[in-house]
C-alpha cells in the first residue's frame, strides 16, 4: 500500500472527528453555551462593561478556545490510534484537518452565541454600543486573527515533546519555550532602543513566527514517528 493516500487520510480524519466530537447535538450546544457565558462574563468584566472593548477580548478568547481541542485530538491519536492502518504522515495531516475543522466550527458557533449575548447586554449598556454586536464581522475583523491557527503546530510540537521526552528530562521542552521567547524579547529590546521601527519589528516578529510554525510542523512529524505507548501498564 502507498504510504500516502488522500482517501485514507480523510477516512482517518472522519474516524477521529467522529469518535472525539461525534454524538449528541444537545450536549455540544450546552458546552458552547457554557463557554460563551464564560467568555462574555470574563470579557465584559475585564472591560468594566464597555461592550466595544469586550468584543475584542471575546474574539481573542474564542480563538484560544477554538485551538485547544488539538490537544485532545493528539492525545486520542497517541493513546488509541497508533495501530490504525494509516501511515504516520496520514495520521499527522489528519490531526490538522480535524483540528482546523473543529476549530472553525467551534469559532463560528461561539461567535454566534457570544454575539447574541453581547448584543443583548449592549441594549442596557452605558454608553450605548453599536447594535447588534457582530464578532469577527465588519470593524471587528482583523486578519491577524488567522495567525492564531498557526499556533496549532506549536501546540502539537510542544505536546509531542512532553510525551516523547518524558523519560529524557525536560531540556528540549524548555528550549522550545525559551528560544522563541528570547527571540521576541530581543525584538522588543531592539525596538525600545530605537534600533527597529514599528514596521521592522512587525516584520521581524512575523518572520520568527513563520520560522517557528514551519520548524515545529516538521519537527512534530519527526517526533510523532518515534512516539511509543511507553506507559508501564499492568504487565
Amino acid at each position: 500500500m502507498n504510504s500516502f493516500s488522500l482517501r485514507r487520510t480523510l477516512l482517518f480524519s472522519r474516524l477521529q472527528a467522529g469518535e472525539i466530537f461525534g454524538g449528541g447535538i444537545w450536549k455540544k450546544l450546552k458546552v458552547i453555551l457554557v463557554i460563551s457565558v464564560f467568555i462574555v462574563l470574563f470579557s465584559t468584566l475585564l472591560n468594566a462593561g464597555d461592550i466595544s472593548g469586550s468584543a475584542g477580548y471575546a474574539q481573542t478568547m474564542i480563538l484560544v478556545m477554538a485551538i485547544i481541542p488539538v490537544t485532545a485530538i493528539l492525545s486520542d491519536l497517541i493513546s488509541v490510534r497508533l495501530l490504525t492502518p494509516a501511515s504516520t504522515l496520514e495520521k499527522y495531516i489528519s490531526v490538522y484537518i480535524v483540528a482546523l475543522s473543529a476549530g472553525a466550527a467551534a469559532s463560528v458557533a461561539l461567535a454566534l452565541s457570544c454575539s447574541t449575548m453581547l448584543s443583548l447586554i449592549s441594549l442596557f449598556s452605558e454608553p450605548p454600543a453599536e447594535w447588534p454586536v457582530l464578532l469577527f464581522i465588519g470593524g471587528n475583523f482583523n486578519i491577524a486573527y488567522i495567525l492564531f491557527f498557526g499556533l496549532i503546530p506549536l501546540i502539537v510540537y510542544g505536546e509531542l515533546i512532553r510525551v516523547r521526552e518524558r523519560a529524557r528530562g525536560r531540556l528540549l521542552l524548555w528550549m522550545t519555550i525559551i528560544v522563541p521567547a528570547i527571540s521576541f524579547i530581543v525584538i522588543i529590546i531592539l525596538g525600545a532602543a530605537d534600533m527597529l521601527d514599528k514596521h521592522e519589528m512587525s516584520v521581524a516578529a512575523g518572520g520568527i513566527y513563520l520560522i517557528l510554525v514551519i520548524t515545529s510542523t516538521i519537527m512534530a512529524y519527526r517526533l510523532l514517528r518515534k512516539v511509543e505507548l511507553d506507559r508501564k501498564d499492568n504487565d
Binding site: 502507498n2 477516512l11 469518535e19 499492568n234
Partner: protein, 270 residues
C-alpha cells in the same frame, strides 16, 4: 510470521523488563502467553505490535520492521488491550463503520456471528450502555472480524462469564483462518489450554520460554505418582505428587498448563 531477534526492553535503564528474547510467531498458530504479574507480558505484546520499540534487537512482521509502522504491517495486526475506553455515546454500528474501513479483510458476517454468539444483538446500542463483560465481548467480536493476519489479545476474558468463555473458544475455532495467528495473554490458563498450539512464558527475569504443546508432550510425560523421584518437576497433591518427567518412551500425554508454567517459572524446565 513475526520474528523477534535478541529483543531487550526497559522502562528504566538497568531494569530490563524483556531480556534478550528471540522467538518466532508462526502462521496458523495460537500462542498462550503466560507470566506472573509484572513479568512483562503486556510489554511483550506491545513490542510485537509496534506500540513499543525494542531498546536492543529487532522485530520483523512479514519481513518489515515494526518500528516503521508501515500501513501494510498495521493492516496485518489487531491488538485488544486489557483496558480500553469506548466512547459512551457512540453506537456499535457507528464504531464498526468508522473503524472497519481500514481493514481490507473485515467481514461483517463474522462480526454478526460473533455478536450473536455473545448475545449482543442490537447494533444501535450505545457502547456506554454495555457492561464491562459486554464491552470485552464486543471488542473480541470486532477484532476477530477484522481478518488481520496477527491477533493479539491481552487478558481478553476479563469480566466475562463462563458461557461466554466457552463461546470465545468456539468462535476462535470457527473463524480463525489457517493463515492467521493469535497470541492470547492471560492469567487463567484453563481458559485457553484447550486451544493453544504453542506456549510462551515470560520468566521474572524477562527471558522467554517458547515451545509447541506437541513438542512438550513428546519431551515430557505427566502423571500422578506416590513418589517424586526422577521427576523434572513435582508438586504435592492429595494423591501424592503431580510429576513432570522426561518422556522415556511413554505415550505422549497432555501436560497441564499450570504444571508446565510452574516448572518453567521455577527453572525446572529450561
Amino acid at each position: 510470521m513475526i520474528e523477534l531477534s535478541n529483543v531487550t526492553y526497559w522502562y528504566e535503564p538497568g531494569k530490563d523488563v524483556i531480556q534478550n528474547i528471540s522467538a518466532t510467531i508462526r502462521d496458523g498458530r495460537i500462542y498462550g502467553l503466560f507470566g506472573l504479574n509484572g513479568s512483562g507480558k503486556t510489554t511483550l505484546l506491545k513490542l510485537m505490535t509496534g506500540l513499543l520499540f525494542p531498546k536492543e534487537g529487532k522485530i520483523l512482521c512479514e519481513g518489515e520492521d515494526t518500528v516503521l509502522r508501515k500501513v501494510d504491517t498495521l493492516a496485518d495486526i489487531a491488538f485488544m488491550p486489557a483496558e480500553f475506553e469506548l466512547k459512551s455515546s457512540e453506537s456499535i454500528r457507528k464504531y464498526v463503520s468508522l473503524n472497519s474501513v481500514f481493514y481490507p479483510l473485515f467481514s461483517r458476517q463474522v462480526l454478526e456471528d460473533c455478536l450473536d454468539a455473545f448475545g449482543i444483538n442490537t447494533p444501535d446500542t450505545a457502547l456506554g450502555k454495555l457492561s464491562l463483560g459486554q464491552k470485552h465481548k464486543f471488542m473480541l467480536a470486532f477484532i476477530l472480524s477484522l481478518g488481520t493476519k496477527f491477533i493479539f489479545l491481552d487478558e481478553p476474558l476479563n469480566g466475562m462469564d463462563l458461557p461466554s468463555r466457552t463461546a470465545f473458544r468456539k468462535l476462535i475455532a470457527r473463524h480463525l483462518r489457517e493463515d492467521q495467528s493469535m497470541v492470547i495473554s492471560t492469567h487463567v490458563m484453563t481458559d485457553v489450554s484447550k486451544i493453544v498450539s504453542d506456549v510462551l512464558i515470560v520468566r521474572n527475569d524477562g527471558t522467554l520460554f517458547c515451545d509447541s504443546t506437541v513438542n512438550l508432550s513428546q519431551r515430557y510425560s505427566y502423571g500422578i505418582s506416590d513418589t517424586d523421584s526422577g521427576a523434572v518437576y513435582a508438586e504435592n497433591c492429595a494423591e501424592g505428587y503431580r510429576v513432570l518427567r522426561m518422556n522415556g518412551g511413554f505415550p505422549e500425554s497432555e501436560i497441564p498448563m499450570d504444571i508446565l508454567f510452574n516448572a518453567v517459572i521455577k527453572g525446572a524446565v529450561k
